[in-house]
């Protein structure tokens, strides 16, 4: 680009002023051309479209020369017109370059955003696939656990049924040695006094131990949180006091024995009922024999059966 092109045209004109001294005033067209060129020369067109600016400058120079030679001539007017339009053209083309650059930049950003969006989406899909795999693994694990539990439950049920059968069988075996009464929440085993004790004594007969072993085994098969009450009863012979003491001593002997056979002592209490609560007529020998007894009550409510016993 020429040296002139680097300077606003008005400064150039100032420098030429002494030479141009005496020339008549410029036409409006020339004034407009100078101004348009001046604006363009200061704009981005100087760097973006310098060739176009130079064309404007050439036209302006010719207009100036024409003005010097023949002020107000058609040539001056024509080249001034061309100069103004070329200056405008230089600026418009400069703006066009900038606009096209902007478009390229925005398109590039779009690519970046689109690429980023795609990568984000792919990342999300990967995450989701990972989560699906995790869930599937968990589901498999759960199914396995479920199967195992089912197996355990089946085994447990089998074991429970077996235990119940065993408990029932144990109770059945007790029928040979005593009476079994099952009520809503209470199981009562009644043992005849004759089987357990000698007349008037509270020490267990050797044969009683066989019977009580069976009782202890049967009790072990009952639920371990059930409370056990051992109650002693006598017939009406003898004083009430003596009968009371004897019945308590006998109940304690039975209690101590079954505890020694593995029943938790904390669950078992002994009570002496004396001649109260007869179950048969004390006037007959058979009735009295029935009244001499020990009852073992197993109750599920955890309360002592003594206070409620009849």
């Amino acid at each position: 680009m020429s040296l002139i092109g680097k300077l606003p045209y008005s400064y150039l004109m100032l420098a030429l002023l002494p030479v141009a001294c005496g020339a008549s005033a410029a036409t409006q067209q020339l004034v407009d051309a100078r101004r348009a060129y001046d604006v363009a020369a200061r704009s981005e067109a100087r760097t973006r479209t310098p060739a176009k600016l130079l064309e404007a400058e050439d036209a302006l120079k010719r207009a100036e020369v024409a003005h010097q030679d023949d002020p107000g001539s058609q040539e001056e007017r024509h080249y001034a017109y061309l100069a103004e339009r070329r200056a405008q053209l230089a600026m418009v083309e400069s703006d066009l370059v900038a606009s096209q650059q902007s478009l390229a930049n925005v398109n590039e950003s779009q690519k970046v955003v689109t690429k980023q969006g795609l990568e984000d989406a792919q990342s999300r899909v990967r995450d989701q696939n990972g989560q699906i795999s995790d869930l599937q693994a968990k589901e498999t694990q759960l199914n396995n656990s479920k199967l195992a539990l089912k197996g355990e439950l089946a085994t447990e049920k089998e074991a429970r049924l077996k235990a119940e059968a065993t408990a029932a069988a144990a109770l059945q075996s007790l029928k040979e040695i005593g009476q079994i009464k099952e009520e809503a929440n209470t199981l009562t085993i009644t043992l005849s006094g004759a089987v357990l004790f000698a007349t008037g004594k509270s020490a267990l007969l050797p044969i009683a131990q066989n019977a009580l072993n069976k009782v202890a085994e049967a009790l072990k098969l009952q639920r371990s949180d059930h409370h056990i009450v051992v109650a002693g009863f006598t017939d009406s012979n003898g004083s009430d006091e003596a009968n009371q003491q004897l019945s308590l001593a006998r109940a304690q002997a039975v209690r101590d024995y079954i505890v020694s056979q593995g029943i938790d002592g904390g669950r078992v209490t002994a009570e002496g009922k004396g001649e109260s609560e007869p179950v048969a007529d004390n006037k007959t020998a058979e009735g009295r024999a029935n009244n001499r007894r020990v009852e073992i009550r197993v109750s599920g409510d955890g309360k002592s059966g003594a206070s409620t016993s009849r």
């Binding site: 058609q74 024509h78 017109y81 061309l82 339009r85 070329r86 405008q88 053209l89 418009v92 083309e93 703006d95 066009l96 606009s99 096209q100 902007s102 478009l103 925005v106 398109n107 950003s109 779009q110 970046v112 955003v113 689109t114 980023q116 969006g117 984000d120």
Partner: protein
């Protein structure tokens, strides 16, 4: 001659160039019809119209100026004022070229605006990725 010219101007239609050419050999031998300049100016005007110069106000203004200059040039040719006609054709061409570029610039700016809108939508979709 002047009267004849005036008559001819009144008689002229769009096919002026042909008439001009036809008259050239008969008219002043020194004044050649600037056929190339006419063709250039018309080509530039047509190009400006083709890119939609009428739609942009500034482009439309210069397209109108170009058409005016072209019409003036045709009259001058008819008047056998070939030098003046050539100048007018040059002015018509530069205005048409300017109209062309102004229309192109308007279109480019429109594209940039659309692309920026699209980019903003994409950015929102992408969850606020920095531009």
């Amino acid at each position: 001659m002047l009267l004849m010219n005036r008559f001819r101007r009144e008689a002229q239609v769009l096919g002026l160039l042909t008439i001009g050419l036809a008259w050239a050999p008969l008219g002043c031998a020194s004044a050649q019809v600037p056929t190339q300049s006419v063709a250039d100016a018309r080509a530039s005007t047509a190009a400006a119209q083709a890119v939609g110069a009428e739609k942009d106000p500034q482009a439309a203004l210069h397209l109108k100026m170009a058409n005016n200059s072209l019409a003036r040039a045709e009259r001058l040719i008819a008047d056998d004022q070939m030098d003046e006609a050539k100048d007018a054709l040059g002015e018509a061409k530069i205005d048409a070229d300017l109209a062309f570029k102004l229309a192109t610039l308007a279109e480019s700016k429109q594209k940039v605006a659309e692309a920026q809108t699209h980019l903003q939508e994409l950015s929102k979709e992408a969850g606020g990725v920095a531009q």
